[in-house]
Symmetry: C2
């Protein structure tokens, strides 16, 4: 019975979790995952310069309701946060990463928590597609597009 329950739990877990498909040299996959994790840390720290540095010099973001925003200076401006607002939590989960030479794409899910000055917190989640380029050995985002998802 215990084994049956365990098997059932494992089955349930594998249904609930998103299958992850990572294709390409391990060091590139690791570089992209590390880049995403670093990005989340910078979001939590509100470090706009470091966030802009996660993109190629001609990197572009596609934010809802905004034109395409391009280039380090405008990206840093986009990532400048209202001082009253803190993003206390940010996480990216790559569902698929595919590396082809110095180019890669990945897609997945993001989630975060925003805290306002009055202490109110709100959670949000969405999905994204990123096209990456390897520049001088470092994986940087070239195209970064996302939109919201409903709560699970």
């Amino acid at each position: 019975m215990k084994t049956l329950l365990l098997s059932f739990s494992v089955l349930l877990l594998s249904i609930c979790a998103h299958a992850q498909t990572y294709e390409g040299p391990q060091e590139d996959i690791d570089g992209i995952i590390a880049g995403s994790r670093q990005f989340s840390k910078y979001v939590e720290a509100g470090d706009k310069e470091a966030l802009a540095g996660c993109y190629t010099s001609d990197g572009k973001i596609f934010a809802g309701g905004r034109p395409i925003i391009e280039g380090t200076s405008d990206l840093a401006k986009y990532w400048t946060r209202d001082s009253e607002v803190t993003i206390t939590y940010h996480k990216i989960t790559a569902i698929e990463i595919t590396v082809i030479g110095d180019l890669a794409y990945d897609y997945g899910l993001y989630e975060g928590t925003t805290r306002l000055a009055d202490g109110t917190e709100s959670n949000w989640q969405g999905k994204y597609v990123v096209v990456w380029k390897k520049v001088k050995g470092k994986w940087l985002m070239y195209l970064d597009i996302w939109n919201s998802s409903p709560k699970d």
Copy 2:
């Protein structure tokens, strides 16, 4: 003076128009542009089966406020339109297309017009990123993500 005016007009035109960067074999670029045009025609025709056929069998769309939608049957469901609603106009403008073997990505702008049963029309526009795969010689969308843009 005429020449000056003409030069100025050409300059203005080149500033206003988005520069287009297409990299890869011409037949692949043509295949992707043809795929996008066909897609717009199917949107205008409200042909959900044909729209689902513009994607790979494991194709995914990332629509705002929805989970990732995947696979031909669910894609056709997504593209099923309320019979009261007609999309009378749909256009995709690729700003950049990059082909690497049987894979490509492109990004650009879309615009459209929706007409309701009472004749009311609304225009909308946005930006997108698509990852394409060449399957049996035909370019199909594998990842399709978009969000809205403000009116110019």
